[in-house]
């Protein structure tokens, strides 16, 4: 029962985030993407509330954390007119089958412990369990010098989220925490399904979601991410990127992307590289509002990281954040990192995910600004992945071997985003024939 309640709190995150979806964005978000965006905002609000409560010395309870988001959701539902309710995009049976198999494989691999990550046992689970027992971010526990390996200033989103689930379930459920992988993978597939629908017909959107589900089934279990923060991080990263690819000009999109970028930096330090890459690439995209949009998107992650830094500093928790990283650069070390990263990139299937995405990119004709955004972010995160290993003074070989495949998921998902960012189906044909009428799922006017 503990495990079921634990997983249920994760599955029900969209309920907590529904009231936070900007009203003007709710008007154009297709249903699957609306669920995914609400889930992401639900996770953000839970983590931010728990962080704020810890900073203010308020003990966590499920009711205290969930009350505000639930009230906002109820208010939103009460204000939603029946005419505003939207339908689910249709999908061809084959696309649905592919999505189903992809999610089934991912779920099976996670729940049968085929994809368990050791960091769950050594790090993430221990922290979440302790936070739940202390009903707050347990500063004395983190500050204990004996616990240095728990990385006292590591971003708190996942331990807070799991602590919330633990409070609801009355215990931290080790086995159920593995389900975080399929739950967030499912949200990502829904995000792609809905957001791709904004720029394509039902068939294109469903096929895009099927590609994403297959990509996840091939790489996530093989990278051993169940119980680690990577599924959550990749969900936030990819959804933010897809929002900018398919909906950058739509009302409220920039704000949602900014909130997701804030979640990235609160989930893992590697999220900072993605945010830097995405913001840099978005400045290169020739759009009239690019500077304003980039500033809005940068403000939220900057505020989140600053708040966490101030909290850690004021509580004596600074560790990695306390000093700028130093690069121990040499040709030999760089060569070793690249060799191990290359080995990790195979995912045990002869580089199949890279070959498939390369072939997809070869037959994709996406607008140049979309490729700039997705491929630019992929390039920055790929370089950052190599450089991050050079910040270790010792031999980085084991570190790369341990985590290389996981870190490469970010640039890889950016490449898949580029590969499925082509406007397609009836929507593209109608645009190419001069008909500027938007498809039914994208009926809201641009800002």
């Amino acid at each position: 029962m503990t495990g079921i309640v634990f997983v249920a709190t994760l599955v029900l995150l969209p309920v907590l985030g529904w009231g936070l979806v900007p009203r003007r964005a709710a008007a154009w978000l297709p249903v699957p993407a609306g669920i995914a965006v609400a889930a992401g905002l639900g996770a953000v609000v839970v983590a931010v509330e728990m962080f704020a409560m810890s900073a203010l010395g308020i003990r966590w309870t499920v009711l205290r954390v969930a009350a505000l988001p639930l009230v906002l959701t109820v208010v939103r539902l009460a204000q939603t007119r029946r005419s505003e309710r939207r339908s689910w995009p249709r999908a061809a049976p084959l696309a649905l089958v592919a999505m189903g198999i992809g999610m089934l494989v991912t779920t099976y691999a996670a729940l049968t412990t085929r994809s368990t990550n050791a960091d769950l046992l050594l790090f993430w689970g221990a922290k979440a369990q302790r936070f739940a027992a202390a009903r707050g971010i347990d500063v004395p526990y983190l500050a204990d010098p004996l616990h240095w390996a728990l990385h006292s200033d590591y971003p708190p989103l996942l331990p807070c989220l799991w602590a919330f689930s633990s409070l609801a379930a009355a215990n931290f459920a080790w086995g159920a925490s593995l389900a975080t992988l399929p739950v967030f993978a499912g949200f990502l597939v829904l995000a792609v399904w809905g957001l791709a629908r904004l720029d394509g017909d039902d068939g294109v959107a469903a096929r895009s979601a099927a590609v994403m589900a297959a990509f996840i089934a091939c790489t996530f279990p093989a990278a051993g991410v169940a119980g680690n923060a990577d599924p959550v991080l990749v969900f936030f990263e990819a959804t933010a990127l897809f929002i900018l690819l398919f909906a950058a000009d739509r009302p409220g999109a920039t704000l949602i992307a900014g909130a997701f970028l804030a979640a990235c930096v609160l989930t893992k330090f590697e999220g900072v590289f993605f945010v830097a890459g995405l913001l840099g690439a978005s400045l290169l995209v020739p759009r009239r509002t690019r500077i304003r949009d980039t500033a809005i998107m940068a403000a939220l992650p900057a505020a989140a990281l600053s708040a966490w830094f101030v909290y850690c500093r004021s509580h004596g928790l600074l560790m990695y954040l306390g000093h700028p990283p130093r690069l121990y650069l040499s040709a030999e070390r760089l060569g070793a990192v690249i060799r191990r990263l290359t080995a990790g990139a195979s995912y045990g299937v002869a580089y199949a995910p890279w070959i498939v995405v390369f072939l997809l990119l070869c037959v994709t004709r996406a607008p140049r600004e979309r490729w700039t955004l997705a491929l630019g972010t992929a390039a920055v995160t790929l370089v950052a992945d190599a450089l991050v290993y050079l910040t270790a003074p010792g031999d980085p070989t084991l570190w790369v071997q341990w985590s290389g495949a996981r870190l490469l998921l970010t640039p890889l998902v950016c490449l898949y985003a580029a590969a499925i960012s082509e406007p397609g189906g009836a929507a593209a044909l109608s645009r190419s024939s001069g008909d500027r009428t938007r498809s039914t799922a994208s009926a809201a006017p641009a800002a």
Binding site: A98, G102, V105, T106, Y108, A109, L111, T112, T113, R114, S115, T116, A118, L120, L121, L122, F123, G125, A126, Q129, R130, A133, P140, Y141, L146, H147, W148, A149, F172, W174, G175, L178, R207, A210, V211, A214, F215, A217, C218, P221, A222, G224, G227, Y347, G348, V349, A352, P353, V356, V357, L359, L360, C362, V363, T364, R365, E422, G424, L429, S432
Partner: protein
């Protein structure tokens, strides 16, 4: 041209989806036959290096049942001699949340208060301050002979 390219794109998508799903299924099959019963621990079907820790995980689970809440405890394992406050310490730390786990290194620190219990998993332990409480094939549980001086639980 467009219908031809659309067909090509669909063909590549279909082939790509098939290859990726087949790779995912192959990964699941590579780590053992398809089972529908829940695994015994989080490591039951993990990769070989992690799976080797499963008996230790089960041992810790048993310790959690046997030791009183709040008791201080050091867990010795074959790895703990070389790995003072790394995984061999972090694993018990997470698995024994009701007890206060201290690093085995404290046993060698004359200025530190000793923990009330020492669990020696597949490793030898002898300290005149401790008496043997129980012994199994997997390990021994020792308790401080003089209960007046154990390290107090701080968590």
């Amino acid at each position: 041209m467009r219908p031809t390219r659309d067909l090509l794109r669909r063909a590549v998508e279909a082939a790509g989806i098939t290859i990726l799903l087949a790779a995912g299924i192959a990964f699941c099959l590579s780590s053992g036959p398809i089972l529908l019963e829940p695994p015994a621990t989080m490591l039951s079907h993990a990769d070989r290096a992690m799976r080797a820790q499963e008996p230790f995980l089960l041992y810790l689970r048993d310790l959690d049942r046997r030791l009183p809440p709040g008791a201080t405890l050091a867990v010795l394992s074959p790895q703990s001699a070389a790995d003072l406050i790394g995984p061999s310490y972090l694993l018990p730390l997470g698995q024994l949340p009701r007890q206060v786990v201290v690093p085995p290194a404290l046993l060698r620190d004359p200025s530190a208060l000793p923990p009330r219990y020492v669990a020696a998993y597949q490793s030898a332990f002898h300290d005149a301050r401790y008496r043997l409480v129980s012994s199994t094939a997997d390990g021994q549980l020792w308790e401080l002979a003089s209960p007046a001086t154990p390290r107090e639980g701080s968590r």
